[in-house]
């Protein structure tokens, strides 16, 4: 089970803005540790954001996405109190799902 995300979602003029900060090392698999051996690749590969059971954004990541990935996007609709759910999976099969209530 991955570490919790920080998700913020706010609706303004009928558009919901979602900001997501994920906790993940995002190891490229190209970095060497102190002993000179390669640190294995370990990174989030897929992210999905849903609103009311409907997918509002899908993302696929490679090794070049920064440690603790950040995403910002906007979708039409959304009302205060409704939920936005975000899930990710990484290349080791670990996953994490968090949700947040939309604020006005």
């Amino acid at each position: 089970m991955g570490n919790p995300m920080k998700i913020r979602a706010a609706v303004k003029d009928g558009v919901t803005e979602v900001k997501i900060l994920m906790q993940h090392e995002m190891e490229t698999g190209m970095r060497k540790d102190g002993d000179g051996s390669l640190v294995p690749a370990w990174f989030i590969t897929e992210v999905k954001a849903q609103y009311q059971g409907r997918t509002v954004l899908e993302a696929q990541f490679g090794q070049s996405v920064s440690k603790n990935p950040y995403l910002l996007f906007r979708f039409k609709g959304g009302a205060a109190g409704e939920k936005v759910t975000v899930s990710w999976v990484d290349n080791k099969g670990d996953s994490r799902t968090d949700e947040v209530a939309i604020s006005a």
Binding site: G29, E46, A59, Q60, Q63, V65, Y70, N91, K92, G93
Partner: protein
Amino acid sequence: MNKEINLGRREALKAGGGIGLMAVLGAYGLLNSTAAMAEWNKAAFSSKAMDEAFAAMGAANPEVNATAIQLSVPEIAENGAIVPVTVSSTLANVEQITIFVDKNQNVMAANFIFPAGTESMVTTRVKMGQTANVVALVKADGKFYRTAKEVKVTAGGCGG
């Protein structure tokens, strides 16, 4: 960077990527059985060159369009570990936005799929090993467009 190291990295990646994909599909089966995810494009994410990556994305020769795609990146990144990238587009029916760093080992950084009702914009952060071009590829109405901007990456110093 010598060839031997590059090969070593590629081998390591191949191994990692292979296991990863299986695990991803497995986890998603548990996580979400109703809606199918777009598949993690292994060929595109392992591409070492832009043309190779474009081809793997089915965008053999995307049209350059710097006006219909807005690519916002800093001119200088104090630290290549975090380079903020915002891509938006005024094109109609944007389905997909893909972000690349042309001098990274694996050039493709992230791919975003936009369902109807989601605005054609996304902000994320990418790693850059050196000064390079950030490239945005936009698929709208089934057609591909691209634009690029250079980001100068400075090796940070001490202090702060």
